[in-house]
Symmetry: C2
Subunit: 261 residues, 2 copies
């Protein structure tokens, strides 16, 4: 992939099956999205869950039932082929992992695109704030917390957070930078001791990889889009399709277009 | 009504039928809300309309089907009795105006509470920015524009805006102050000549009252919650209930809790 590839070029490469890998670092100026696909009969309750829990589940776009083109955030794209890797879930259990879902598609499916913390990572880097998981070439560390989201209908989930160790003298700046991105997770939900969130061991994340925390660094926790996958599966829907972790949908919306101010 | 009455006290007074008047100025530190009530069969499409058009239709809370207590923004309140005056619409036509709607209630109704510009008016005043409609004791001027909202299912509407004349040297400050309130209409949608929005005559608003525009003042336009009523009625639903203009639902959520930063 060319470093300067546009979102459209990246999606075309993915559609042709030439990129079945995580999307971190691709088209870095553009918002990437978590994907959840559910039957229309569940769409109101799931959208309500997202609206009630905007920090972990910020809505970028919701498609009409049966719609597969995200006309607002990625005109011309196809939600069925333009994600590198999907997970197909039946009654809450993993059924398949596949690079395209056309065979599973039907006209009653509603696709939800939800914001991803990649959008504020480039802003943190631009402010001189190091991101350990990028430095170490790992996936960000994610943890299931003891904080329940507000349920909606049959959907519920604990808040899932991502953690980045931040040098002590840059913690305030990290809060300021990410506060601008209220539409894509926004400000941290917690700073410091993970036990306040019920996290026992930072070296054992529930998702992603552990990263090194140096002396003089503070763990900072942000709401994480994985919450939306847990919520979708909590309803044990007959069929649910999500992206595979790290394999996001890349939109044409610049990250900056989601900044509050 | 005592000037320092709490939202709960104001709602109790309204519930007892002692306040059948507009709510402007009541419990001014707390968010007031537009109300739209629709059948659950329309709830996904209408919530999608709001999510796609967050500037005119910022969602404060959506209740479960049949639910009448806004547990998130006003625990203990009753959506059926705590608005001073309601409008009952059948197939898009006004059927009745009434101070309580218990007789119309059924277990399939979904209530939407949407943000109101009263939330940023107190912030404007606190920054020394005069608000003409308050000075003149009138309702704010509102106009139907030539800008379409993004439709969702059977719901569509033109963007409706409210207009406040702002002294030229305070226009930048007005943008800054209201930008903080991204969850309740936020920054202006337009500054200056109303004809860019298709507004022919500022002295003839489509809703509310005209106000005086002095020399040295610029008209500033913000997205307006009346958009949500037009959208709800555009679907010509069998039954739709809204608040009467200016007669809002008063929540327990401080205006400041809706500020982005």
């Amino acid at each position: 992939m060319q470093p300067a590839a546009t979102p459209r070029e990246v999606r075309e490469s993915i559609r042709r099956g030439q990129w079945v890998k995580p999307t971190s670092g691709l088209a870095p100026a553009f918002a990437q999205a978590n994907l959840v696909i559910l039957d229309r009969s569940l769409a109101f309750e799931f959208l309500l869950f997202c609206v009630r829990n905007p920090k972990p589940c910020p809505v970028l776009e919701v498609l009409e039932p049966g719609g597969f083109e995200p006309r607002i955030t990625a005109p011309g794209a196809d939600i069925r082929t333009d994600v590198p890797l999907y997970r197909v879930w039946k009654r809450g259990e993993l059924h398949a992992e596949t690079p395209e879902i056309s065979a599973h598609w039907d006209g009653d499916m509603v696709s939800f695109l939800l914001g991803c913390s990649f959008s504020f990572e480039s802003a943190l880097l631009a402010s001189g704030i190091p991101i350990r998981n990028i430095e170490e070439g790992r996936n960000v560390s994610m943890y299931i917390t003891n904080r329940p989201c507000i349920p909606a209908g049959r959907f519920s989930a604990p808040l899932v957070v991502s953690m980045r160790p931040i040098p002590d003298d840059l913690v305030v700046r990290a809060v300021q930078v990410t506060s601008r991105y209220a539409s894509v997770h926004g400000a941290p939900v917690h700073i410091g001791d993970g036990s306040a969130l019920g996290i026992e061991d930072l070296d054992s994340p529930d998702f992603g990889d552990p990263v090194t925390i140096h002396k003089g660094e503070t763990p900072v926790f942000w709401a994480c889009g994985v919450t939306s996958s847990l919520a979708a599966l909590s309803g044990r829907p007959e069929l649910c399709i999500t992206h595979s972790p790290g394999h996001m949908f890349i939109t044409d919306s610049p990250n900056e277009s989601w900044a509050a101010i």
